[in-house]
Symmetry: C2
Subunit: 257 residues, 2 copies
C-alpha cells in the first residue's frame, strides 16, 4: 500500500493542536511521504479566505516519525499555497488531505468550511484532494470510524484517480464503526443555517453578538449527503468549483444590452 515516492500534503482548519490532525496523519503515512502545514490556531468557518493584507509566517514546530510539521498564521487555503509554493515547490504533490475536521461539512456547511476550501484550492492546481470530517464538534471526538473509512477511500481514490478539478468531501456519521452501514456517493443537500446573533453585554457595558445556530436541510432525498449521514452511511461527494447557475443563463438574457 505504501508508496514512498508519493508526496502527500496534510492540512486542516482546526489548527496544530487538533486531535483530528493526528488522525489524518495516521491515514496519510500509509500512502507516502507526509508534510503537514496547518494553522497556528483554530480557523473553522474560514471558507475560502486567503491572507492578502499581512505577512504569512511559517514555523517548523515538530519533526516526528519522518514527518515535518509546520504551522502558520494563515488560513486553511494559505496552508495549501504554502505547501505547494514554498515547502514542496520542487516536488509534484500527489495528494492533499484536509482534516480530519471536528464537525460536519455536509449540505451548505461545505461553503463555510475551511477544511473543504483547502481541498478545493488544491483542485485548482490539479492536485488530487480529499477532505474528511466527522459529525462531532467535540475536541475529544472519536476518530476510529473516520480513520478506518478514510484509509479505504484514499486507497480506492488513488487507485482509480480523481479527475482534474474535482476533490472529494467525505463526512463520517457520529456512530461507532460497527454501526456504520457503508459508503454512499452523494450530492450536496440543499439547506440553510438558522442562525441567531445572541446579544450580550461585555464587562464594560457594551453590546456584542455571538453567532450560534443549527443547519436545516431543505430537502431529504436519498441521493443527498444529509440522507446518507442520518442513515449511518459515510457520505462521499465529488466537489467542483464552478458556481455558475447554468440553467438560469438563458432566463437572464433580458439583462443583455
Amino acid at each position: 500500500m505504501t508508496d514512498s515516492k508519493r508526496t502527500i500534503l496534510v492540512v486542516n482548519d482546526d489548527g496544530f493542536e487538533a486531535r483530528g490532525l493526528e488522525a489524518m496523519v495516521s491515514i496519510a503515512k500509509n500512502f507516502g511521504n507526509v508534510t503537514v502545514v496547518v494553522p497556528d490556531r483554530t480557523r473553522s468557518g474560514m471558507g475560502h479566505a486567503i491572507t492578502m493584507n499581512e505577512p504569512l509566517r511559517l514555523t517548523n514546530y515538530k519533526n516526528e516519525g519522518g514527518i515535518a510539521y509546520w504551522r502558520t498564521n494563515g488560513t486553511p487555503v494559505d496552508c495549501v499555497k504554502l505547501g505547494e509554493k514554498v515547502l514542496l515547490r520542487d516536488k509534484k504533490i500527489d495528494l492533499v488531505l484536509s482534516g480530519i475536521n471536528h464537525g460536519s461539512n455536509s449540505s451548505v456547511s461545505l461553503i463555510y468550511s475551511g477544511t473543504m476550501a483547502a481541498a478545493i484550492e488544491a483542485s485548482f492546481s490539479n492536485m488530487p484532494a480529499i477532505g474528511i470530517s466527522v459529525l462531532d464538534y467535540s475536541p475529544d471526538a472519536d476518530f476510529n470510524s473516520a480513520v478506518h473509512f478514510g484509509k479505504i477511500i484514499v486507497e480506492k481514490a488513488l487507485t482509480n484517480g480523481i479527475p482534474t478539478g474535482i476533490c472529494l468531501n467525505v463526512n463520517i456519521p457520529k456512530v461507532s464503526l460497527e454501526e456504520i452501514k457503508g459508503i454512499k456517493v452523494t450530492r450536496q443537500c440543499d439547506g440553510v443555517w438558522h442562525e441567531e446573533l445572541e446579544e450580550r453585554i461585555d464587562a464594560f457595558g457594551r453590546k456584542y453578538y455571538w453567532l450560534s445556530g443549527y443547519l436545516e436541510h431543505k430537502e431529504f432525498e436519498p441521493d443527498t449527503c444529509e440522507w446518507a449521514l442520518h442513515n449511518k452511511f459515510v457520505s462521499v461527494q465529488p466537489v467542483q468549483y464552478d458556481l455558475t447557475a447554468h440553467k438560469y443563463i438563458s432566463s437572464f438574457k433580458f439583462l443583455e444590452l
Copy 2:
C-alpha cells in the same frame, strides 16, 4: 423608480472607508430605504468566512441622507447576517447589494471574493442579491461605468425578479462609459491564480511570505466572463451555491460499500 417600501441592505468587503461603498449607496438609494453594514477594515479575499470564535461588534458610525451606516469587526458574510438577524430583523429585506468592489470577481476569483460570498449568503435566505465589482484595484477607481450599468441591472432584475437561491455577479471592465459595448450574461470562466509567495526578511531577521499573483484563464470561450470583460462588455453571471460535481457522481460509484 423609487419604491420607499423596499428595504435594501448594502454590504461590502473593502470596508467602511472604500469609495466603492459611496458608489453602491448612490445606486441603492434609487430603489428603496437603505441600511449599510460593512467591515471596519478591508476584508478582501475573505471568501465565505464567518466569525465563530470571537464576539461581533456593531457600531453606528454615520447617519446621512436618511441612511444608517454600521460597521463591524466581522467578515462580509457576517455583515449580511448582522443586517438580516439584528438591524433589519423585523423587516423583509427586498434586495442585498454588495460592493462596489475594487477589483475583479470574474473567473475563479469569485471563490475567494468576500463581496460575492456576501451575495451568496443572502441567496441562502432567499434575499435577492447582486454583487458589483470593477476591474480596478485602485482606491481611486472610476465608478462611473459601474454606477451607470449597476442602476440598469438592479432595476431590470427587480422588475423581472431573481429566482430563489440565485444571486448575480456583475463585473465592469476598466474602460470609460463610452467604450463599454454592452452587457453579456456569462458563465464562470475556468481559471487559476498563478501565485508567488515571495520570501522576505523582517526587521528582526525573521522570514515571512507575501502573497502575490495573477489570474490566468484556462479557456476563453465567448460565453465566459473573461471573454466578455476583455471585449469591453459588462459581465453578469447568475450564481448558485451547489458545489456538487454532478456529472462525476456516477463515476465515483466504485467508492460505495
